[in-house]
């Protein structure tokens, strides 16, 4: 199976590719929207500034939306999770995909920003396919300054001065604020779980 990893110029994808391969996935890095054709799943990774997501213009948005409509799972990582929301205070003019309600906000308080390091995941009570076999309070590796609000589809919450969505899950749409490719065994388990969703969706 081939998972399309969208390269839109927001950071290096070496680690993400390596981690997906380690759990047995067939990944191809795509930088043109035609790459979505025939993809078994779409992964939107990315680090850095929210403005970078403007590279994912209308043709990408249409392509991804219609893929979701065909039952293709979507997985956003870090900036990719934030892009699932309506937008971000980091780049107010850049629209998000709007699959999740609300806008991303800058982390502020008596803490250091960016939020860098390992923090706990408080899992929601409802069952999650993404977190199958991962206990609540497991640690994951984060590095970000902006965060997504806690919404109805939030499946994991993390607190850094304020609580934010560290993972969302609704149907075949998934997103994580942390880096599963850098989160040790927990991260690899999560990627394995996503692969199972992809296999089940086919």
């Amino acid at each position: 199976m081939s998972i399309a990893l969208v390269d839109y110029g927001a950071g290096n994808l070496t680690s993400v590719v390596k981690a997906f391969k380690a759990v047995g996935a067939d990944v191809s890095v795509i930088s043109a929207v035609e790459g979505l054709d025939g993809a078994r799943a779409i992964v939107v990774p990315g680090v850095g500034h929210f403005a970078a997501t403007t590279s994912l213009g209308p043709e990408w948005r249409t392509g991804i939306q219609s893929a979701i409509g065909r039952g293709v799972p979507l997985f956003g990582i870090c900036l990719g999770l934030q892009w699932l929301f309506e937008g971000s205070a980091e780049a107010p003019d850049a629209p998000g995909l709007g699959l999740m309600p609300g806008r991303c906000f800058r982390l502020e308080g008596e803490v250091k920003v960016p939020h860098v390091g390992w923090n706990g995941l408080a899992l929601a009570a409802r069952p999650s396919r993404l977190f199958d076999g991962i206990p609540t309070d497991s640690s994951a590796y984060f590095t970000h300054s902006y965060a997504a609000p806690v919404v109805a589809d939030t499946i994991a919450t993390t607190t850094h001065a304020v609580p934010f969505s560290s993972a969302v899950e609704r149907g075949l749409v998934f997103g994580v604020q942390f880096h599963p490719e850098k989160s040790g065994r927990t991260g690899l388990r999560l990627l394995t779980n996503f692969l199972r969703v992809v296999q089940g969706a086919a």
Binding site: G11, S15, K18, A19, G48, K112, P114, S139, K182
Partner: protein, 253 residues
């Protein structure tokens, strides 16, 4: 709650891990990939590979070593040593590094910090500062501690953060390799001055030294080499020791 990080440093020369005292007298401590795998099993939070002689000898960090170290590692990996240009950074990032650490190059051309942050994001750019106490202040040294810079450590850390650095790796030259404890005063001064995380380095000798640098020194992470190299389970034992003393640690791995 955000955990304090323990970072194992592999000082690499010619493909082997070495360890010096006050940046001098290097001795062999093993194969980097084997050590990396062991630390990962023991629960280390992050790894740093420093090509300790790269700047002096004009070599880039050993790309082959980075590839071997990163292959089976799913925790953050930082690489430093001899990174002087965008091309140098690209080479180590393509080889598997998540972050690059700039020291002499950042002093010589601070614009490189910003250029790298724009391309890879601030999270990928660490500015390493080697500092030494003198005349009631903390002087900055470049080129593996051999060349005194005109800048002062706290001010330089603030400038580096403003220019786009995502973290500061702060090494006390006075304490490096001495096992006499971190320079908590230096660490706290920098940590309180900048918003970005500060990694304390130089002087780790006992578990209590880590308690000190995380509390008194206000460090966000602590980096050490020899304290981890020469005994099995050192990382696990240290994490449990620190957790029992109220320092937030990642204990699941």
């Amino acid at each position: 709650m955000l955990a304090k990080r323990l970072i194992a440093c592999l000082d690499v020369r010619d493909g082997s891990v070495v360890k010096g005292v006050n940046f001098q007298g290097l001795r062999n401590a093993g194969d980097p990939a084997e050590l990396a795998a062991r630390y990962n099993e023991e629960g280390i939070d992050e790894l740093t590979v420093l090509d300790v002689t790269a700047t002096l000898e004009g070599r880039r960090a050993l790309l082959d070593t980075i590839r071997r170290v990163s292959q089976q590692l799913f925790i953050p990996l930082c690489v430093g040593g001899g990174i002087r240009s965008m091309d140098d950074a690209r080479a180590v990032i393509d080889a598997g590094a998540d972050k690059v650490s700039l020291n002499s190059a950042a002093l010589a051309q601070p614009a490189l910090i910003t250029a790298l942050a724009r391309t890879y994001g601030s999270q990928a750019v660490i500015v390493a500062i080697d500092a030494k106490r003198a005349h009631g202040t903390f002087e900055v040294f470049g080129r593996s501690g051999t060349t005194k810079d005109a800048r002062e450590a706290v001010a330089w850390a603030c400038e580096a953060a403003d220019r786009g650095a995502g973290e500061i790796l702060l090494t006390s030259i006075d304490r490096d390799g001495t096992r006499s404890g971190f320079d908590c005063e230096l660490t706290a001064a920098v940590s309180q001055a900048v918003q970005i995380p500060v990694i304390a380095s130089g002087g780790a000798g006992t578990p209590d030294h880590f308690v000190d640098v995380f509390s008194e020194g206000r460090a966000d992470a602590a980096l050490a080499a020899s304290i981890f190299h020469f005994s099995e389970h050192a990382v696990t034992d240290l994490k449990q020791f620190l957790s029992a003393r109220g320092i937030p640690m990642r204990l699941d791995w």
